[in-house]
């Protein structure tokens, strides 16, 4: 068994992981383990922009940004974290520019900014230009720029290494970070990486929905590993459905399209958002727009033979503006739909997009084992984590911001911790769990196929845990997921080899998705209110008396081996903003 030793290990090379690595590798011997080549990470798919109150094109300030973030998150946001996010946004964007990021420019040569959903002037007066962008390729540019700077700094990467387990060792009554276990895709070898500090930056878990903007590889491996090791997951019931995915495919068309003036229309050509959000209209927050779209569809005003989608209309915008500001998404419409956006509206439907919940951390990026206690040496940042700056609903452009602000913070903190800590002993037989999983799968002769279980999981999630939920749909989901978990025990894979066995890894990824889907549905069932991205038809109002609190879900294994999910709750940090009704 190969055992590597580093001061700091970073799991994931998306925006959060590489931003962390740029900091930690300055002061701590660091390696980044990533299941994809760094530039393949899904941060590269982000289009619209990164929020920061630079005030380059109109009056703006970080306090307005803080307020919008908290209101957008339907007051489930921890307000101290949101304040840090908005304040540090400005340096975060400037840092990226200095690292070389090619932002679009104003006529003065400063970074250009545009409108985005939920970002407003003076606490909701009117939309404000706060999103810093590079055409509709902002995520691509961030990912490239961060990788370029990792190359410049000589950061060490282990590419196509799948982290499958987190190692914690108990010492003086406290569980401490000892390292991770990884599977090398090329060789099929299982290896141990000892480290004083570990940063999880392994991204989201949106692949448990069928219609999704997420990459095939976004399977929540980090969240699932933490959960298995007894750590809680926070607010998993809050999942964002982005209003404009390409019909049936889910490929994202950025909100920047509406920021540039795009309009949503129903089958009668009506600009229906005027009814649902008189002030912000098409730029109301995402949960509001997604529900509006589904309401139109349910009431028979959807488009197409099955009335199952609406249109994103860009035809009134000048072709030059589309070419300059939205070149990629207009090309998606041409490539995948054969539609010319200059002249034809684009069929869209809401698409599963972003996990607001995740591994709980404090503002230093330290992972919490309960409501307040950090796990020594363990950090998380980016979509895998929940700080919580997004609360019940993330504002567009706040995630690229989150990965930079909290990726940086986690990197600094992890290096600092490693500087003053000793290596912790490895637990006994550290690869046991992963070896069992891998060997069992290779030897399995079960009759179930990965594809069938994954498809059934995605179907039940799309049907029952999407934009509209109720006790009935959520109970159905919990039950079906339970059945699927049983069936999963009886799967087998066809590829029994060692080399590049993606068949095997897809099976392991499916196991993670099942675990996380269950937590999501169970957490949603218990939250008997509607807030942000979580909408219960049987409890359509927000209930601050009973539910102004974060969900903390733990996995428990009984003496007889039965597994269950235990829910606990954590108070929301409120500083200066009193909860108000959310109107756009």
């Amino acid at each position: 068994m190969k055992i590597h030793k580093y001061d700091t290990i970073i799991v994931g090379a998306g925006g959060a992981g590489m931003r962390a690595a740029i900091e930690s590798s300055k002061n701590s011997r660091t390696a980044v383990l990533t299941k994809l080549y760094p530039t393949r990470s899904h941060t590269g798919a982000a289009q619209g922009g990164m929020a920061a109150a630079l005030a380059n094109v109109e009056e703006d300030n970080w306090e307005w940004h803080t307020f919008d973030t908290i209101k957008g998150g339907d007051y489930l946001v921890d307000q101290d974290a949101a304040e840090i996010l908005a304040k540090e946004a400005i340096d975060s964007v400037l840092d990226l520019e200095k690292m070389g990021l090619p932002f679009n420019r104003t006529p003065d040569g400063t970074i250009d900014q545009r409108r985005f959903g939920g970002h407003s002037r003076n606490h909701g007066e009117a939309p404000v230009r706060r999103s810093c962008y590079a055409a509709d390729r902002t995520g691509h540019m961030i990912l490239q720029t961060l990788y370029q700077n990792c190359v410049k700094q000589g950061v060490e990467f282990y590419n196509e290494f799948y982290v499958l387990d987190l190692l914690l060792t108990e010492k003086d009554g406290v569980r401490r970070t000892a390292g991770v276990v990884a599977y090398d895709l090329a060789s099929g070898e299982i290896q141990v990486f000892r480290a004083k500090s570990v940063v999880f930056a392994s991204g989201g878990n949106g692949k448990f929905f069928k219609v999704s903007s997420n990459a095939h590889t976004l399977t929540g491996d980090g969240q699932a590993a933490a959960l298995r090791r007894g750590l809680p997951l926070e607010d998993m019931e809050f999942f964002q459905f982005h209003p404009t995915g390409i019909w049936k495919m889910g490929i994202l068309l950025t909100e920047g399209a509406r920021g540039e003036g795009g309009i949503l229309r129903n089958r009668d050509g009506e600009r229906f958002m005027e009814t649902y959000a008189p002030v912000m209209k098409d730029l109301a927050s995402r949960d509001v727009v997604s529900r509006a779209i589904y309401t139109e569809i349910r009431e028979g005003r959807g488009c197409g033979a099955d009335k199952d989608h609406v249109f994103l209309d860009l035809t009134h915008l000048p072709p030059e503006q589309l070419d300059a500001k939205l070149p990629d998404i207009t090309e998606f419409a041409r490539t995948y739909l054969g539609i010319e956006p200059y002249t034809d509206p684009i069929p869209i439907q809401p698409t599963a997009h972003y996990a607001m919940g995740g591994i709980p951390t404090n503002v230093e990026g330290e992972v919490l084992s309960d409501n307040t206690t950090p796990v020594p040496g363990l950090y998380a940042a980016g979509e895998v984590a929940c700080v919580s700056v997004h609360g019940a609903n993330r504002l567009g452009t706040n995630s690229l911001l989150d990965i930079n602000v909290f990726g940086r913070r986690a990197g600094i903190a992890a290096a600092e911790y490693a500087g003053g800590a000793e290596f912790v002993e490895l637990p006994e037989d550290p690869t046991r769990f992963v070896e069992d999983e891998v060997e069992n799968l290779r030897d399995a002769t079960g009759t179930e196929r990965v594809v069938d279980i994954r498809r059934a999981l995605q179907q039940t999630m799309d049907k029952n845990v999407m934009v509209f939920r109720s006790e009935q749909t959520l109970k159905e989901a919990v039950e079906q997921i339970g059945d699927l978990r049983k069936r999963y025990k009886n799967i087998s894979v066809q590829d029994k080899g060692k080399r590049f066995n993606t068949d095997l890894l897809e099976a392991l990824e499916l196991g993670n998705l099942l675990d996380l889907a269950e937590v999501t549905a169970v957490s949603a069932l218990a939250r008997k209110e509607s807030r942000g991205g979580h909408y219960r038809e049987d409890f359509p109002d927000r209930d601050d008396v009973n539910f102004m609190r974060h969900t903390m879900a733990f996995r428990e294994v009984g003496d007889d081996g039965t597994e269950s999910i235990r829910l606990d709750y954590k108070p929301v940090v409120q500083t200066r903003y009193q909860p108000m009704e959310r109107k756009y």
């Binding site: 994809l36 679009n104 040569g109 033979a305 034809d344 990965v450």
Partner: protein
């Protein structure tokens, strides 16, 4: 009220539901754990021609033969994982629709050329990334950092816009006959990424990068075959970028 919307709504309502066709995918298989020899294998699928080649590969892997191995992630042409040779041309499987490939004939799918084949459609990407790292693909500046952003005019920003689009998929480099013959050649993708910084008004290491590309394995090896430009799934004018680098080497102006 937008009449385009109304027209479209009507047209859509009349559209027939998608129909399935039978298509043959002829895939170059290789698994050294089984055999040292690569060989072709045919798979017949019932599939909607509006689907992507990636969807077909998934259908094979998930429903027929789990050992079929390829890389992929985003599924919409952004991450650069799935460059492969499809009907003899380098493309991204996720950006190629079956209907555009003349599906009456068998559709051939094989790994990109010039990089060591590891399994089925998976090649060793390390030499490709090494060439990229060798051209100093990062912004170099001197002096004190400004407190705010560096200024750059919209025109100066536009100057290198095309080459910022690269997703490092290797479709260009692995379509280049010079690279096939001699893997030491930096290849188009590395030159594109050097171009991205040489022509960035904020950067100060253009001379150094040009010297690197002036090397015997550098930009002069390019014979302007244009395969790379044709292969680029991002529509980058790769050959033009290489020509601009050559010109900069001669004039030392950029």
């Amino acid at each position: 009220m937008s009449s385009a919307v109304m027209d479209k709504a009507e047209a859509e309502a009349k559209q027939p539901a998608s129909h399935l066709i039978t298509a043959t995918f002829r895939i170059r298989r290789f698994n050294p754990e089984v055999s040292e020899e690569a060989s072709w294998e045919d798979f017949q699928l019932e599939i909607d021609p509006k689907e992507r080649v990636l969807d077909a590969l998934h259908q094979i892997k998930w429903e027929i033969d789990g050992t079929l191995t390829f890389r992929r992630s985003c599924a919409h042409g952004i991450c650069g994982s799935d460059a492969m040779r499809i009907n003899g041309r380098n493309r991204l499987a996720c950006k190629t629709l079956i209907k555009d490939l003349n599906p009456d004939q068998p559709i051939t799918v094989e790994a990109i050329k010039g990089l060591t084949l590891l399994k089925d459609l998976v090649v060793d990407m390390e030499p490709f990334f090494q060439a990229y790292r060798d051209v100093m693909p990062f912004l170099v500046t001197s002096g004190n950092e400004p407190t705010r952003e560096r200024l750059q005019s919209a025109e100066d920003r536009e100057r290198f816009d095309d080459t910022t689009k690269c997703i490092l998929c290797a479709a260009c480099t692995s379509s280049c006959p010079v690279f096939w013959n001699d893997g030491q050649y930096f290849g188009p993708a590395a030159i594109v990424n050097a171009h991205r910084f040489i022509f960035d008004s904020r950067d100060e290491a253009g001379e150094q990068r040009l010297e690197i590309l002036n090397d015997k394995d550098g930009v002069w090896r390019c014979r302007t075959v244009f395969n790379c430009t044709e292969a680029c799934p991002r529509g980058i004018e790769v050959t033009k970028a290489i020509q601009e680098v050559k010109r900069a080497l001669i004039t030392r102006r950029f």
